[in-house]
Every structure is written in C-alpha cells, then in structure tokens.
C-alpha cells in the first residue's frame, strides 16, 4: 500500500487510517459528523494526494483532450478549469475528471486515484495525434481546503487575492512560502474553498502553515468519510458508485458536460441517447421515514417489485435524514415521485427530490 507524503502526519493526529484506492488514507480524525459540520460552517483540510495528475502538453494537447473528454476544452482559457468525463466506446464512463488549462499548450488532468492506470492507458490508446503525456501522480500532492471561511483563513498565506479567484478558476503562484503552487477555486463539498496542488516535498510545509493560519478560524483536518457525506449532500457523483464503465453520462445527469458541438469518444451514440431520453436515470431521493439507504440496496415500487438500485446513500448530517442516489427507469424519475428503499426486511418510503440535498 502507498502512503501520501502526509500519512504519518495523519497518524500522529490520531486519524483512523484505511486503505483506499491503494493508498493509506485518513477516513476520520475526530468523528465524521463534527468534521462534516466543520466544513459546512468553518474550514477543513483534506489530504487528497491520492488523486492522479496527468500533464498533456504540446501542439496537439487540445486535440487529444477534445477526443477523449466529453466537455468542450476549447472553451478553456489559461487559468480556467472544467469538470468533464471520459466516455468509453460502449456507452459508459472511463472516469470523471477536472481539466485545467495551465499554459497555452499545457493541460492538467486530475483523475480518480482508483483509475490512474486505467485512464492513462485509455488516453494513451487514443493518442494517435502525438500529444506529450506525463503522469505526475506520484510526484504531486493535493490539499482541499474547504468551507465558508477558507478565503478569509488562507488569505495571509498568499499574495494573490483569494476572493478574486472565481469558481473553477485558478492561479499558479505563491502559497505558504512555496512558489508555483496551483490555487484552484474548486472542491467536492459544496461549501466553497480551494484545492492546492504542490510537489510532495512541499506539502508538509503547506499543511503546517495552513493549520497555523486557520487556527483562529477553527480549522480541522477532515477525513474521507466526511468527504463522502459532504459530496453526497450536493449530489456530486462518485466514480465507482454512481458512475462507472457501464453507466452512461446522460443517464447519470452529466449531459451538461457532454458538448455535442464537437466529436468525442462515443459522442454519436450519446447524442442519440440524449435526444431520445435515457431509459433510466440517476435520481436523488430522501427517505420519508427513519432509515439509512446504502450502496447496493434495492429500490422497489409500491408492489415490492425491484425497479432499481441505490448507488450512494447515507444519513445526511446536515438534514438529519437518509438521503441517496440511485438508478431507476425514467418513468419513476420525476421530482416528487414516490418509491421505496428496501432496507433489510422493510420497504421504507422515499421521495425523488431535486439536487442539491443541502442548500446553504
């Protein structure tokens, strides 16, 4: 199992460590509910250095990216990032990712840790245009500093005006005494903040300074368990749960990152699917009664017939009720539709709701 540059730091803080995507990662420090609330109300820091980073460079970089990714990367100017996905040839999704335009001909692709090798091989297999690819995953660390107080708490660490970095924009600059750090106004929590990309040998200094600067703002380290409850309250898809090699981006509600004004892998079939409407959809639901939906539970109709499956579920710390995502036939997918979640022996009534679950 691999360690991040901060694994021993987490252990010293008393984190419970778990294997995740081949890395020894902190799942929780103080407790998931407290950590969740810290990010919703103040500021918290996640070590997400397990994420993969690829650089695609050169004259043909954009051409390759446009081929493999569903969003339109030609819209990116230097300093902007976009969420996208890598469709496969069979209607599914290889991975979801963020694409940063770092320089004129240099793009950074940030991919899920569990998919690094698969994505690398996939993109390389499509690279008949001659773009230069570099895998920086082992060399780069990533901290997510998230929460409504992130800007205020971190401003003293950089000469850049953090409040001027718009959502899905980034700067490359000084942070916590280190130069050439990517400060990106992105995240996976819905509570605002930044993601900081730096080299492995720089991350400990940044981590320490971030905690010094954040002390007066109640900053805390946050584990992967709270990362999951935070993202689920926003309805953000998690690869491997809500999307995978067999789910189409259209049925997953990712049609907004599929731009049919250009060609990309499997774009014709996906365009047809979008026009005709998918046969099933990823829905968000809240339980009407007490209970907690979990990944893999059946979704059943009023007659007890299985109509779908829960892909993510939890007790929402902010809402205090069971929430989840799952696939059902389109006929059951309208907002307000009633269905049931089979939790052990009981079918618990649930209602299809609009995302996000959590509204500020």
């Amino acid at each position: 199992m691999k360690n991040t540059a901060l694994s021993s730091t987490h252990e010293a803080l008393g984190a419970k460590m778990v294997p995740f995507a081949g890395y020894n990662m902190p799942v929780q420090y103080e407790g998931v509910n407290t950590e969740h609330e810290t990010v919703r109300n103040a500021v918290g820091v996640f070590d997400v250095s397990h994420m993969g980073e690829f650089l695609i460079e050169g004259e043909y970089a954009l051409e390759l990216i446009q081929k493999v990714s569903s969003n339109d990367a030609s819209k990116l100017t230097v300093g902007k990032a976009q969420y996208s996905c890598l469709p496969n040839d069979d209607g599914g999704v290889v991975d979801d990712l963020i694409i940063y335009r770092v320089k004129e001909d240099t793009y950074l692709l940030v991919v899920n840790a569990s998919n690094i090798e698969k994505d690398w091989n996939w993109i390389q297999s499509k690279n008949d245009v001659g773009a230069t690819m570099r895998d920086l995953s082992e060399n780069y660390s990533l901290l997510a500093i998230q929460g409504p107080k992130a800007i205020e708490a971190m401003q003293s660490l950089t000469s850049h005006d953090l409040s001027a970095i718009n959502f899905y924009n980034f700067v490359v600059g000084d942070f916590a005494g280190i130069e050439h750090v990517i400060i990106s106004a992105t995240g996976y929590t819905g509570s605002g903040g930044f993601e900081i990309y730096c080299k492995n040998n720089e991350v400990k200094q940044i981590w320490d300074k971030v905690f010094e600067a954040g002390a007066d703002f109640g900053i805390k380290p946050i584990g992967l368990a709270a990362r999951d409850t935070l993202r689920l309250e926003m309805g953000y898809c998690l690869y491997g749960n809500d999307i995978d090699d067999t789910t189409s981006p259209i049925e997953a509600g990712l049609g907004w990152v599929c731009k049919f004004t250009k060609d990309f892998t499997n774009s014709e079939a996906l365009k047809r699917e979008k026009e005709q409407g998918p046969e099933r959809k990823l829905i968000a639901f809240e339980l009407d009664e007490r209970g907690i939906p979990r990944h893999g539970y059946d979704i059943v109709d009023s007659n007890g017939k299985t109509i779908g499956i829960v892909t993510s579920g939890t007790m929402s710390p902010s809402l205090g009720k069971g929430i989840g995502l799952g696939y059902v036939p389109t006929v059951f997918a309208d907002i307000g539709s009633k269905l049931n979640i089979q939790i052990r022996k009981n079918a618990i009534p649930a209602t299809v709701v609009k995302l996000p679950f959590y509204k500020k």
Binding site: G31, V32, D228, G291, T314, M315, R344, N346
Partner: protein, 126 residues
C-alpha cells in the same frame, strides 16, 4: 479503552450485565469507537424470543451497518427507546445510557460461555 471488569463480553464486541435472569446488552467502548458516529439503532425484535447468536437488531454508523447478535437465548423484554432520538448515546456512554436491550434469559448456563473483561481485553489487544 474502557472495559468494566464487572461485565461479560462477546467476540462480537457486545457487553452483558446479568441481574437475576435478566441480561442488559449493549456494545463495547471498542465497538463504538470502531464504528464512529452512530446514527441509528434499529431493534425490531422487541417481545420476540430468539436463540443465542441470532440477529436482534442493527446499529448504523455514518459509514457502516453492523448486525447485533443476541449473546444469550431469551425474550427481548425492553429496548432502550432513548436511542431512537439520541443514538449518539452509544458513543458517549456505551455502558450506561447507551445500553440497547434487556433480555429475559431462558438458559442461564449460557452465561458461562461469555468472556470475562480480561479475555475481552486480550481479544482486542487492549
């Protein structure tokens, strides 16, 4: 790790307190700490008579679901209803306010098969 010496324990990380033929049952300090924040304790077997090792309920933490196994055969005569509104009591006071059920034991000889505090301590390596 708190492991009171006057209680009995199971390999499933439950504790048992025997008073006459009634056993009070909960999960150990170790179990609550491994589970993390407990958000739901579901017991739908109240008034039922079950055999030892049968599932009498479920404890749900934010990230995990665990079955609760009955340590001793008998009738489930009480559920700690305070846990319906405050399941976090299992975290804060596992041996006190966080108790889960009371069982009227049908075979007290089964008590001999439970673990002592010392045995449990070595099981969890405390």
């Amino acid at each position: 790790m708190n492991i009171p010496s006057d209680l009995k324990y199971t390999k499933d990380h439950e504790w048992v307190k025997i008073e006459g033929d009634v056993a009070t049952i909960g999960v150990t300090d170790f179990a609550q700490s491994e589970l993390g924040d407990i958000v739901y304790v579901e017991v739908e077997t109240l008034d039922e008579t079950l055999e030892a090792e049968e599932v009498f309920g479920t404890v749900e933490a934010v990230k995990t679901v665990s079955d609760l196994f009955l340590p001793l055969s008998g009738e489930i005569i009480e559920f700690n209803e305070a846990l319906e509104d405050e399941p976090e009591k299992v975290n804060s006071d596992p041996y006190g306010d966080g108790w889960m059920i009371k069982v009227k034991c049908s075979d007290l000889s089964q008590v001999d098969s439970l673990m002592s505090a010392d045995d449990y301590k070595s099981l969890i390596g405390a």
